[in-house]
Symmetry: C2
Subunit: 409 residues, 2 copies
């Protein structure tokens, strides 16, 4: 059961001018479920991507990078679930290329204008014939109102489709921002998506758009972790179709950029947090804030050390305020000259550890009260400087083990 996360209201998902979405049941892994998504983009869209840091990146990631670099103008995205097309060698790359070629044929563009994505089991050959056979069905369904179906079509172990929308006014024009994401396990930053597609009908100059995409990723999908495993396939794509007809934003100091960026960040954070809330086996949503660090990198390192500790995560699952485990995780973050006597630990409103030891007024009942809630903020103050960082994670439950022990069956 996801933590305070419902399926989005389809009526609240705004169409984005210049984006059409179509899906199919291609039977990639299982019959009778949406497992193929085709997205057609209007000519002239700015498209930028951030991809997995995993060196065993999947074939579609390799092809995406190549097609973005070719700079032919992206016209389509194609995504299959049920198979990651990772650990598949040269034939995997050939399959990803064949997919792009067929999409290009169907939509009347060139293969380098198509970005392919896959998610699912690793190291099994992609059933590319079934995928290709499904594409015409997806193409027939292309329509601007299919965001909800698109969110469903990219789900794997997700229990809830993930989509979000915002509307902003830029220079008097209404502009839509709508995104979808999927992912529930094998989730940690660089990238943690596993897949996220966010589109707006705003017009932004491509180089500026690429820079903005990196910043949005950093503030959202790169702030989450479920199990510390970085997927082979993580991809975040941001699309600005320009179909609203607005005068393009082409300088960083254009005041419209801040407004647009705010809306994009909100959508990206909502989607990223939805991935954690739907984390495999999650029963709690936990924000970990580290403050008083020497650098932001150090703050992140400490936050992730806490977020990745199986002992911390199981204690949250049990609502057991065994909070010394958090101090131990702080000590494991590789901050060589950490002075434990300067460390403060808060759990929501409860001051648990003062100057590295249990606060004299701390009583376990207070810790227990916070631990029993479904939304918990861990705040660690290092006393080393003024940098800070926050990451979002979930607990580690029996269900995480069950889901991952049974994933392929």
């Amino acid at each position: 059961m996801p933590v305070n996360l419902c399926a989005p209201d389809p009526a609240a998902l705004l169409p984005v001018a210049g984006v059409e979405l179509g899906w199919a049941e291609a039977g990639i892994r299982k019959a009778a479920r949406k497992d193929l998504l085709l997205v057609r983009l209007a000519d002239g869209a700015s498209v930028a991507g951030v991809f997995t840091g995993n060196r065993f990146c999947a074939a579609p990631v390799l092809v995406c990078r190549e097609h973005l670099a070719a700079n032919e103008g992206i016209r389509a995205l194609v995504t299959n679930t049920g198979n990651a097309n990772a650990g598949t060698g040269a034939s995997g790359v050939a399959d990803a290329r064949a997919t792009c070629a067929e999409v290009a044929r169907l939509l009347g563009c060139v293969p380098a204008q198509v970005l392919p994505f896959s998610t699912g089991v690793i190291m099994e050959p992609l059933p590319v014939q079934r995928l290709l056979a499904g594409l015409p069905h997806a193409a027939q369904r292309l329509a601007p109102g299919n965001w909800m179906e698109a969110a469903e079509a990219i789900m794997t172990t997700d229990t809830v489709p993930k989509a979000a929308s915002r509307s902003v006014e830029l220079g008097g024009l209404p502009i839509a921002v709508t995104g979808i994401a999927k992912g529930a396990g094998m989730i940690r930053p660089n990238m943690a998506t596993m897949l996220g597609f966010i589109a707006t009908d705003a017009a932004v100059e491509p180089k500026l758009w690429r820079r903005l995409t990196g910043a949005i990723a950093e503030a959202s999908f790169n702030r989450i972790t479920v199990d510390g495993d970085t997927s082979t396939n993580d991809s975040l794509i941001l699309i600005a179709t320009a179909a609203s007809g607005m005068v393009p934003i082409d300088t960083a100091d254009d005041p419209r950029l801040a407004t647009l960026s705010g809306a994009l960040r909100e959508v990206a954070q909502q989607l990223a947090q939805a991935i954690v809330r739907d984390g495999e086996g999650a029963t709690k949503f936990i924000e970990i804030r580290v403050e008083g660090a020497a650098t932001a990198e150090e703050a992140s390192r400490v936050a992730y050390s806490i977020a990745h500790s199986p002992l911390v995560k199981t204690a949250f699952y049990a609502s057991d305020p065994n909070l010394g485990r958090i101090l131990a995780a702080v000590g494991n973050a590789g901050v060589a000259d950490l002075d434990q006597g300067c460390v403060q630990l808060h759990l929501n409103d409860v001051w648990v550890a003062r100057d590295g030891a249990r606060h004299p007024q701390y009583i376990e009942e207070d810790g227990q009260r916070v631990m029993k809630g479904a939304e918990i903020t861990v705040r660690v103050e290092l006393g080393r400087g003024s940098a800070s960082s926050a990451v979002w994670t979930c607990d580690l439950s029996h269900d995480y083990v069950s889901i991952n022990a049974d994933y392929r069956s």
Copy 2:
């Protein structure tokens, strides 16, 4: 249930001349269980230690380091379970000092000749009065034949006491090597012990002994991981009492040193592997060998990336040959210029992935057969050089979650 691990035969645990062990039921956390161990050493022993890399190290670790540096000649070790005396600030250090003072008083030495150790819950005050009250009982029981009871007295979530012995001949003299260890969770290298004490009646010059202790740790307790959490308290102590009366080894090229070192390494590896075999919730014992790396550090990094991946560990638990997860973990090890096309993956005798993709002759039944066994060797060849490394780990099961969700109750 531990993996192929039985309690040692007490008769096989050789007494070590110059070492006496005594225990008590001090009621540190629970009544009626051995939770206090006192070890008395003959005058003139060489004693060296390796301690946790956790910056939130426990009070006894701080005091151990200080007392070893004081160089007064160590005469006693004192260990309590049930409370880690970590995250306890200045009062924790005072408690560790009070413990050493009382041991010194009982045994007629000075406090700087006593090394204190604690293991158990973090961030709770040490019930030092109960500990002090238990010490006379432990002192009364001091005897050379108590190795088995000593192993029992340091257990926490361990299900099996861990002890091992070897006998070697050095220059015609019979020499004993006997050690005990404890630890089952919060286990990863630097140090992974959590506690290990190994003694021999051999005579080795102190500086040489310190160097040997580091090498033994590197080959044993620093090669294991259960959950990737480095404890606040990990300590490995090696003791050479010299009570055999042998002519001391005082140069590195003394041929007796290699014989002694071999026996020490065997005992240390057996104890370290016993910790993994008794890992919290473990159902399988897994050796991960990484070969063909550019450096040994790189090989270790890749091995630990595999060993720490929750997705890999749950797949082993399920006997599910979802082996692409291993490739993903290789890709996550931070080897920036890894060429996935050069990576080979073997599971025992089965060649699973060739040149980064599934081996054409690999069939899932073969993977399944290996995965169903309780002893598994994962072998990864990186194709980058000739360095290699091995680590030992276990799977991640429902019981790991249960044990750590319930640990304090």
